[in-house]
Symmetry: C2
Subunit: 146 residues, 2 copies
Amino acid sequence: MPDHTPLELERFLPYRLSILSNRVSQAIAREYQDRFDLSMTEWRVIAVLARFDGHGLSARDVAERTEMDKVAVSRALARLVAAKRVVRRIHDGDKRRSVLLLSAKGWKIHDVVAPLARVHEREMLALLDVEERKVLTRILDKLAPL
Amino acid sequence: MPDHTPLELERFLPYRLSILSNRVSQAIAREYQDRFDLSMTEWRVIAVLARFDGHGLSARDVAERTEMDKVAVSRALARLVAAKRVVRRIHDGDKRRSVLLLSAKGWKIHDVVAPLARVHEREMLALLDVEERKVLTRILDKLAPL
DNA sequence: AAATTATGGTTTCAAGTGAAACCATTTGCA
DNA sequence: TGCAAATGGTTTCACTTGAAACCATAATTT
C-alpha cells in the first residue's frame, strides 16, 4: 500500500521561506518602482556602487557582489546609465572592462533609498524579540554563507 | 552634507532572505524539473490536492492554499490535466467551479516527491542546532503568519 | 423575472528572465 | 610572434510571468 502521507506545505521550510521572501521583496520592489522608477536589481546595483565607491567596480564585480547574473546586471546598468544615474567609463589598459560610478543623481537616489531600506528592515525586526533577532542572523550565516 | 552611509547589502535582511530562498528554491525546482518534468508551481498544486484529498478543491481554493495567483494556478492545472496527473470535473450546481482530484498518476508522483521534499528540508535543518530550529519556526510564524 | 454585479477561470499582451550565441579584447602558450 | 583559449559584456531567442481584459455562470437587486 502506497504511502500517501501528504506534505503539509504550510509547514514546509523551503515553501515558507519563499513565501516570506516574496512578500517582503514584493512590497519593497513595488515601493521603489512607484516612487523612484527603480527596479530591485537596479537598486542593488546602486547599493554596491555606493558601498564600494572608489573601487572602480566593473559590471562583473557588481554581478558577483549582488549574486545576480551578468545579463541582469548588464540590463540594469543600461537603464541606469540611460537615466544618468550611473556613469560608465572604460578601464585603462583593458578595453573590455567598464568602470562604474554613481553620478550625483545616483547618489541622490541612494541617499533617499538607503534609509528607506533600513526602515523596512527595522519594521521587520520589530516583530521579533532580541533573542530571535540574534538567532536569525546566525541562521542566515549558516544557511546562506558568504 | 549628504549622508552617504552605504547600505551593506550582504547584511540587509530582505536581501539575505531572498538570496537564501532563491538558492533553495532553485536547487529544488531544478531537480523536480529534470527528474519529473514538474515545475515548482505544479508540485505545489499536487501537494495541496494530496493534502486536501476528498475536499473537492477548486482552482480558487488551490490558489489560496498555495499563495499563488490564479493565472499561475490555471496554467499549472492545464499542464497537470494534460499530463493526466490531475482530473478535472465540474462542480454540481455551479458550472463555473472545477473540482480537482489527483489521478493515480498524480498520486504516484506525489508519493515519490513528498519524501524527497522532506529530505531536502532535513538537509537544511541538519545545518542548524536544536535551538536554532525551534527559533526559526517561531520567526517564520511571526513574520509570515497563516 | 430582468438587469446588475460578482465570481471562477482562461486568454491576451507586455514586460522580465536565463541560456546560449555572440563580439571585442586580452591572456596563455607553442 | 602568432594562435588558441579565456574573459567582459551585450544581444538574441524562447520561455515565464502578472495585469488586465475577457467569457461564462451565479448571486443580488429591483
